[in-house]
Symmetry: D2
């Protein structure tokens, strides 16, 4: 059990095709909030590939607060992501919300994201235990460390050991930032538990101008990598524009991460 694993501290890692999360190299996951169309996705991915992004992300099934907002391209989005990932030889990750979509989508994906809103969706978590595919498990908006580790345990105990956590900010009284990125728990998990963890400074801050500094902070706090929302035209991104950065900005962040990844 994860929660009892404090003592061993053997560093577990999770492999997404040929990318190792939890090893000495920090992993960069990036892409747009939503997959918008094939051409835009291709252009973005071409840029990301050049600047060293290892895993491609893009939302196909979008959990939106209002039922009247854009809900994503769904299966069509998964198809676009799959094709573009294949063309540029990059593993892909996207969020799945419905246990019934797993069967049709899993074979096209290299990693499946469980979003914040579904961290407590035990139905989905148990179903993911039946798949042989790495899971990126985001922290719930107000989940405690114990609840988060137990959510991972739901997947692991159902048969799938390849779980990577993702800290994406919690809800607090502070409204200047969208969420409060809780790097304390990133440090705590690396110090005391045996599971890789990725940091999401895009949702964790909700502000484009803070993504660079908080990416670096996430890495030195112990993160095994970052997941960052990017776009060739951030201001026109169909969702989460305020927190989406340009490829140029991302490129600079990646080169800064390279400077520190092996320092400690």
């Amino acid at each position: 059990m994860l929660l009892e694993d404090k003592k061993s501290k053997k560093q577990k890692n999770v492999r997404v095709r040929d990318i190792v999360i939890g090893g000495p190299e920090k992993v960069i996951i990036s892409g747009p909030c939503s997959v918008e169309d094939y051409e835009t996705m291709r252009k973005i991915t071409s840029g990301l590939k050049k600047c060293g992004v290892q895993i491609l992300r893009g939302g196909a099934f979008k959990p939106r607060t209002s039922p009247y907002d854009f809900q994503g391209l769904k299966h069509e989005g998964v198809k676009i992501l799959h094709e573009v990932g294949k063309e540029f030889d990059m593993p892909i990750v996207t969020e799945i919300m419905d246990a019934r979509d797993l069967e049709s989508c899993a074979e096209h994906l290299d990693m499946i994201q469980v979003g914040s809103r579904n961290m407590y969706n035990y139905t989905l978590l148990k179903e993911l235990g039946n798949y042989n595919i790495p899971i990126l498990l985001k922290r719930g908006m107000s989940a405690t460390l114990t609840e988060w580790l137990n959510a991972a345990e739901y997947i692991i105990s159902s048969g799938n050991p390849d779980v990577v956590l993702c800290e994406r900010g919690i809800r607090t009284f502070e409204t200047y930032t969208r969420n409060t990125l809780d790097l304390n728990l990133v440090a705590a998990i690396k110090e005391n538990y045996n599971i890789p963890i990725i940091v999401d400074p895009s949702h964790g801050t909700g502000r484009r101008e803070l993504v660079g500094k908080m990416s670096l902070a996430g890495i030195v706090a112990g993160g095994d990598g970052v997941i960052i929302e990017s776009h060739i035209n951030p201001d026109k991104a169909i969702s989460d524009a305020k927190q989406t950065i340009s490829i140029e900005n991302l490129s600079e962040i990646i080169s800064n991460i390279k400077k520190i990844e092996n320092l400690f």
Copy 2:
């Protein structure tokens, strides 16, 4: 749309068999946290019926933090609840977590609860729109008013207009109580929106000795009723014992509610 409905203020109500939620009479929903076995459920229900409880609750599918904890009697629990409800002529409500269980369970239930952990489970919410059965939609642990109303909107816009909200406390820094029961929002919803709302002082406080006072507070804040965890032997309840009250205590609370329900 709920969020745009501020002006009309026509008081909508939802009917659960012959019980009206949102009308002049306050509705009492009660029962054990978990359905434990047929005999215990029968004894509890007999007591509840005598003291005026109108709708019977009992957990069959239990969303537990740890995958290693008791997960409920599942379909067997639904069956027990259904039989006991029939015997005592009481409508029943229980939580369903998996869209795939709806088909097999819906016909045995009079109302379906969406738990806190699933308020953002849009897959489940949309599926519930396909059923002709009232829904009790609990507030997520850190859901804002807007998000909560939008969750109801997911169900309503998918075809099922019979949604009742349930305030069950939010997460704050305070640890003396399990959650902080947010009666502000009960008052706000009655003042500004057109949807019935039930108050849950059991989860809202997590402490048996506070359930009585907070039930009354919930009613005068505008609640259309309360949902209270009760048991014939509260200390031996298989889950949530600390917040479960006895039938005697419940009986006293109900008679206090009767004293105030038509005062304002």
Copy 3:
């Protein structure tokens, strides 16, 4: 010690001139956020007196977030409040923030308020222990039960036993209301501790239309009274206009409180 007093449960009360806080009658404290000028204060007080308000409040020293905002009439405000209170034979309460102002102001006041921002100001709390005057101790914005009771203990252990708590809402992620009124703690304090407590639905909600319902909820949760911001012209109040109610509205709330104060 307050924190060890759980068992005795003898109901302590505090006397403000001839008004008893903590007895069978619920106490109504009201007045404008800020003392604005003598004439306005006189007109407001005349209205309050007629509708049954027992203690007059009005801010003289205003703790404002920005140093450039109106800081209150200070000693001039205390003087106005004192004169108007005398004319209408009502005890008065106002906030003091500076231990050095106590000497000059205490003799003109019947009760001294410690505001939210100063609940942890141990210098001020200890100084108040030297005065023979009742204290209204507001809860800090994110103070736990233990910290709040200990703040009262600072005053009591310094020599002044006459402390009344005031719940005025805590900070949470919810932005629809200014604060989240935590009636759980009102119930908990009446159930387990031996100190009177007043509820402030004005700051606790920040919204005029919720003050009525939350006043009643505060009373049935166990509050010994309410403190409500009112004005003859609420929309023109110099501070906190959004949460200030009219004398007519207050009058209705008071008559509703009368209906329930002796029910339980």
Copy 4:
């Protein structure tokens, strides 16, 4: 005004004797939570001096939750701190809580700390405006960015421009850590406002084993330095033992900070 200063972004710094906070070199402030006695303070300081600590901290007036807990050595503590600082040629910083203590203590101090509990103590803040001494202004436990900058503005507008902010964690629902260190605001302040900021990973985490990683994270997020609780015998520290680290541990953290301070 600080809040209107967004555009200029000229990097202000504050000088504490010959130490510059806000310049290219990151500043290390360290020492025990409480000044315990002369000999212990001397031994601790000797160790700190050797490992590169630039400013010595130590609590003399201790704001404790309970009035019955150790309240610090007060003036005697200031005297010890002053003497030890002089012997080792290190500027000293300590918390003052009472405006009336300023007169007697200010001349013995090189920097004055305003603690979390006093961030809203406008009486104290305005008084500090009359002194020609740098101020370390800790963030209130649930203070927003706007409130915190305004607290600094209270000091500055009263005549003292030398204010340094200190992020020390905020209150959230998470109980694994004592507070949640909010590095988002460190990044935001460096990005958008013109005032130096120090990070306190000791109070920000409450856990010794997280202090190292969170110190580094604080620096790359934009912090101008760190303030860390240390002791020659951490387990025997008279207060805050759980978050206090050894001189050896501190020495390692400092050398890690040196590796990154000029990287970006």
